[in-house]
């Protein structure tokens, strides 16, 4: 009886630990980072358009671009800290990092333009290009993440089999 309780407790702890660490595969981390970067680049593009149309205040636009830059840096850090085990994941990571970098450069250019260095209009095409790239990569990463999730779900079934043994 006690042994059953112990094994149930162990399974619960393992499940909780898995939930806490997110049992995140490389692909799903990259997927999140890409989504975060895409949101930031799209935000920057939207606010640059608004500034060009004179629909927002320069102060607000600057603050928004600052927030977008912070998000892009965070996404890059998350992507570069991802541990990969498969070569396909490594390729994906490189591509994501490159696209995030391009987005970051475009956002920085936009911030410089707000400060009076260079033309704001010129940053719009590069923001849009970075957004397109990130969109493609997000689709790739999301497919990869789903495949990875399907295989870890199979592995996750093992501890409950252990509980069956404990009961017997």
């Amino acid at each position: 009886m006690a042994r059953v309780a112990t094994s149930v407790a162990v399974v619960a702890v393992v499940a909780l630990a898995a939930a806490l660490t997110g049992c995140a595969s490389a692909a799903s981390t990259l997927n999140d980072a890409t989504g975060q970067g895409l949101a930031a680049v799209q935000t920057a593009a939207l606010v640059v358009e608004q500034e060009l149309d004179d629909r927002t205040f320069p102060t607000t636009a600057t603050a928004t671009l600052g927030d977008a830059r912070r998000e892009l840096v965070a996404a890059s850090t998350a992507a570069s800290e991802t541990d990969v085990t498969a070569s396909s994941d490594a390729e994906l990571r490189e591509a994501v990092l490159e696209a995030l970098d391009e987005g970051l450069r475009a956002v920085n250019d936009a911030r410089d333009a707000m400060a009076g260095l260079g033309s704001l209009e010129a940053t719009l095409p590069s923001l849009e290009q970075a957004a397109e790239q990130l969109e493609d990569l997000e689709a790739q990463a999301s497919t990869a993440a789903q495949t990875a999730a399907a295989s870890t779900a199979g592995a996750g079934a093992e501890p409950s089999a252990g509980a069956e043994v404990g009961r017997a």
């Binding site: 939207l46 205040f57 320069p58 607000t60």
Partner: protein
Amino acid sequence: MKKLFAVALGILTAIGGFVDIGDLVTNAVVGSRFGLGLAWVVLVGVVGICVYAQMSGRVAAVSGRATFEIIRERLGPRAGLANLAASFLINLLTVTAEIGGVALALQLATSVDPMWWIPVAAFGVWIVIWRARFDLLENVTGLLGLTLIVFAVALFMLSPDWGSLADQALRPGPPADEPVATYWFYAIALFGAAMTPYEVFFFSSGAIEEKWTEKDLAKSRLNVLVGFPLGGLLSIAIAGCAAVVLLPASIDVTSLSQVVLPVAEAGGKVALSFAIVGILAATFGAALETTLSSGYTLAQYFGWSWGKFRRPARAARFHLAMIVCILVAVAILATGVDPILVTEYSVVFSAVALPLTYLPILIIANDREYMGDKVNGRGMNLVGTIYLVIILVAATAAIPLLIVTGAGA
């Protein structure tokens, strides 16, 4: 104008509950991820807070007792202390977030780094609490907060596809690309925000600050019926704006600057300036509401002298407690933590505070020794009991969902 000032308490209370800095962002997050798929939660929450705010306002007007006095009296010192600890932490985290929120709103207006604004905002909150009369405080912040209606106007100006918005709202449920747990996490976060306990602490204590009596019951009802539905409407409008502009551009909201993007898109600089003024007033008002609430709850639990209608020296511990709260909030913000993130964790403490707050209100509202013949009617009791059950379910589900979803990430 006089009529408008009469409902200022209800408006300020609701703004603090529905569109404070955490909720501004949460509403936009929800809109940018689920469209209007969670609008039903706001409706459920509005009805719930109306029922219980009205009850606590009636108890305060008839018996002269504020909510935390009756919590201590009905629950005793132990359960009362558990509620005090949870409610106080919610208040403290929210004060922290709001002071940070005022700084973020000032950044939108000036592009000066928010770190510089934090001491200014904190001092502003303190000096208003120290020196301003209660009615001045509620009239100014309540009235200026009304400019947030610009979000509803912006939604119309964006001329969205009303059919698909209605479809999102009428067919609730998680979209295909979002996990079910995340959907329910946000549902509970929105419900908890609508029913957050500091609203009734502030509303009932405010009723006593304004010296309401049995004659003011109609006023209390009007405050509730104008304030909270308005708060809910603003909350849905913000989600709607995000659903129309940000959702199609796959922008997941993470910061305050993204919340105002749809407003600028719809109405340009004029609308944007209304939105910034509204956000400033709402976050400042919420900072006042939560700072005062932390003073009210402590003072009422321990039986200290409290109230802004007294000189600070005649309510010394009450004022000292609020000063300490503001200083702690500034210290937390000085670590550079994201103020918006801070509010997400207050959901955990709501799990303890919500049931332990609303149960005693329901019991006292039925007690003839307190209420005379103004006790609850049958309908009120039925609705109150149903909401108590909903609160219990939401409270017990909150913590597991927070862990499983990693706070909705």
